[in-house]
Amino acid sequence: MANGVSDVGADAPAGGFVQLLTPDGERIDSVTTADGTTYSVDFTDEEYRSLYHDLVTVRRLDAEATALQRQGELGIWASLLGQEAAQVGSGRALRPQDMAFPTYREHGVLYTRGIDPIMPFGLFRGVDQGGWDANEHRFNGYTIVIGSQTLHATGYAMGVTMDGKTGTPDGEAVIAYFGDGATSQGEVNEAFVWAGVFNAPMVFFCQNNQYAISEPLERQTRIPLYRRAAGFGFPGVRIDGNDVLASYAVTRAALDNARNGQGPTLIEAYTYRMGAHTSSDDPTRYRIASEVESWKAKDPISRLRAFLTKQQLAGDDFFTAVDESAKKLALDLRERVLAMPDPQPVSMFDHAYPHGSPELDAQRAEFVEYHASFEGSDH
């Protein structure tokens, strides 16, 4: 327990990162980075426990989804295993009015937004197009195209400024998630340019999980990713992505800067994808086992559990209860996924235009009539 004056954690990569909870579960009171910013968290006991609850729950739901894919019930699944802390910490730092732009892996952020975890499963099961009301959930659609959501987010954030919703502590901020691989995309760099020049209320949250599918980080960049921000004219911070407290503290501060009109921040959450890129990938073809082992020792959940235990904030009863509740939620999710109805063919007309069009309406009517000509048709 020390007042960190440096941003160098014991297990940090060269250049250091913001860490408030070590892999052994030791709490670092606060960390001051080179630019003089001090990061800390002030959680109640109950808040620490609920963070643990969220981490365990999103991991358990993710494991269930992986199993469902292997059982032929999902076409594909992108696992978040290993990245729970980056997602839960940053997701919980969002305020209700903030807007999130995820990739296809942000199941943990989705959960922290209070969204029913089944929402994206229609996409992975192939029974819908993955569309949902982004405004209602303050959570944009899962974006498969690498990096394009950063431009959508920046454009949205520029609109937030034009709507006069920034510049106060109650302002709106926007967060865009992406991975290390996406930083090589033109879109992400354009988004940096636009967000920087227009002082957009943006947080660029990069989960650096070390691999762009099979391409290692050293094939993406010659400098640490967070230092790229300097070239675009806004601050960049690297955090221990497996530390839920650092993820929360730094994201919360960056979002508040954004909503207050202080412009964008790039956060590089230094983490590791413990599983495959997606269920179609075999990571043993490009990663060595010892590397994966070394990251197991930095697991985001076990360090928080160690902290809770050492501080006597929770005991075995609590941990068992969390596991049980997560399992129950996972089995409930399984049942509901299996019960997802196949899409009605006519539903393809539903979201083409917000208010329909005469031509489309006519096509739809014809289509309904055609289907009604079959026995047992619902139409």
């Binding site: 032929g72 269920s279 179609s280 043993t284 073809r285």
Partner: protein
């Protein structure tokens, strides 16, 4: 659904059509929990464990480890209510055979098995990728008010036997070859007819499969349908009697061995076909006197650094290739049609074809051009030993840029090697034999070998290929001289 639930091999990775059962982690009678890993399956993309879809007792395993299974085929059955006692009599237990039987809608739904939209093993519908709609029969929904709309579908003999059972084939004489197709369209063959004609036939209750089409390519026209509806159509001519006599000597199946095509054999076949029909191959030959190379090899063996390393003529050939590549970098390149580019590599990942128990593999030595001769010798030895032990990691087998095949070890003079996909040159190194040779204007017994170089003519022209081969030959004819003049 019954308490016995069958699990079909799913598409584990976006568009796969099959997987190989690597190992069962459970056996019949084992109790398993939901999501407990039960089987390891390897697909073209990854080896993965499949977790049990239901808790219960394993009641049947349909396919043994080592079998390649089509996506959609049942692989295991689980009794989900083992505590309910023995299975009551009459409770149907599904079998692989019953599941393999495919029902075909009798009328215009007659799509040939295997075609998209047609029946597939496991009662699924064949689609372009994956294992298709989850319905277990390919029955078409009948139209409202169509006579025969609720008529039973015709069960047809299994069109695809489950993958586990076809070996060995029953010892029956092979069927005689079918007679040339008569003009009458056999039942269940694909009927050519435009959609409006199909609709007309349906509206009039006419079976398209019994009509002899008069349109282009034998397609059924509106007139044909009207005629048929009016009863004017003649019964299709009976298929002519089969006249082809069976061959005099019958070689029955007991004298044939059927080896499943899988693993390395399958991969080799795919690679070779892909390469042979993509890259236009040219092969050139050069017969040379390698006496000096053999002497140089002896000298090397007596040097202290090489005391612990086994060295062979292959080492000298590899060195010759690597030096010659420096002089002709274009041979070390890839034709990238997708990007309209020729990718010339500054590094040489030198592939060495190796015969192993599992079949032909071509592991490569990464960045071999940067290795010293000693390092190259060690890398060659390691590569061969690992290959022989069957433990070559996948990473060693990808990324090759140029290869050597040492057919000499089998005692043959040369061959016309096929390029590994993505490579532009491969050298075959034949046996080194004492032969009469004109040496310093006299006929002497010299150590002679033949080199054969196949190259991709899209990238490498005859001139370049010849120069490259000539340089390799020059080095092997006179290593010291070549080294002095090239470096």
């Amino acid at each position: 659904m019954s308490r016995i639930k069958e699990f079909n091999l799913p598409d584990l990775g976006e568009g796969l059509t099959e997987g190989e059962i690597l190992a069962w982690l459970v056996k019949v009678g084992d109790t398993v929990e939901l999501n407990q890993p039960i089987v390891e399956v390897e697909t073209a993309k990854a080896a993965v464990e499949i977790p049990a879809k239901w808790g219960g007792v394993i009641s049947k395993i349909y396919v043994e480890a080592g079998t390649t299974v089509e996506v959609g085929a049942p692989i295991v059955a689980i009794d989900t209510e083992p505590s309910a006692g023995p299975l009551p009599e009459g409770l149907p237990t599904p079998s692989a055979e019953s599941l393999a039987a495919v029902e075909i809608a009798p009328v215009e739904g007659a799509v040939e098995p295997g075609l998209i939209g047609g029946p597939a093993p496991g009662g699924r519908t064949a689609v372009l990728v994956g294992y298709g709609p989850k319905n277990t029969t390919a029955k078409r929904r009948p139209r409202v008010g169509t006579p025969g709309g609720s008529a039973p579908t015709t069960a047809v003999a299994p069109v695809a036997t489950p993958p586990a059972t076809p070996v060995p084939a029953p010892p029956v004489a092979p069927a005689p070859p079918p007679a040339p197709a008569p003009s009458a369209v056999p039942v269940n063959a694909r009927v050519l007819a435009k959609p409006p004609v199909r609709k007309l036939a349906r509206d009039l209750g006419v079976d398209l499969t019994v009509i002899v089409g008069s349109g282009p390519l034998g397609s059924v026209t509106r007139d044909d349908v009207h005629q048929a509806a009016a009863g004017a159509v003649e019964a299709p001519a009976a298929a002519p009697a089969v006249t082809a006599a069976p061959a005099a000597a019958v070689f029955d199946a007991s004298r044939e061995q059927r080896i499943p095509i899988k693993g390395v054999r399958k991969l080799t076949a795919e690679n070779m076909v892909a390469s042979a029909f993509t890259a236009p191959h040219v092969t050139e030959f050069l017969t040379i006197d390698v006496t000096r190379t053999m002497k140089a090899l002896e000298k090397l063996k007596s040097r202290r650094e090489f005391r612990d390393v086994r060295i062979s003529p292959l080492l000298m050939v590899a060195k010759a290739v690597l030096l010659a590549v420096r002089r002709h970098p274009m041979v070390n390149s890839t034709w990238s049609g997708g990007t309209n580019e020729i990718v010339v590599k500054e590094y040489v990942n030198l592939g060495i074809a190796a015969a192993t128990e599992r079949g032909l593999i071509v592991p490569n030595i990464k960045d071999a051009g940067r290795l010293s001769l000693l390092e190259l010798a060690e890398a060659l030895n390691t590569l061969v030993q690992v290959a022989k032990s069957g433990k070559t990691p996948p990473s060693d087998m990808t990324g090759g840029t140029l290869s050597i095949t040492n057919v000499g070890v089998f005692g043959v003079d040369t061959g016309t090697p096929i390029l590994p996909p993505g490579e532009s040159a491969i050298l075959a190194f034949g046996a080194v034999r004492p032969m009469p040779w004109v040496h310093k204007d006299k006929i002497k017994v010299r150590q002679v070998t033949t080199l054969a170089l196949s190259f991709d003519h899209r990238i490498v022209d005859g001139e370049l290929g010849s120069k490259f081969l000539r340089d390799i030959g020059d080095f092997l004819t006179d290593p010291e001289g070549a080294l002095l003049s090239w470096t």
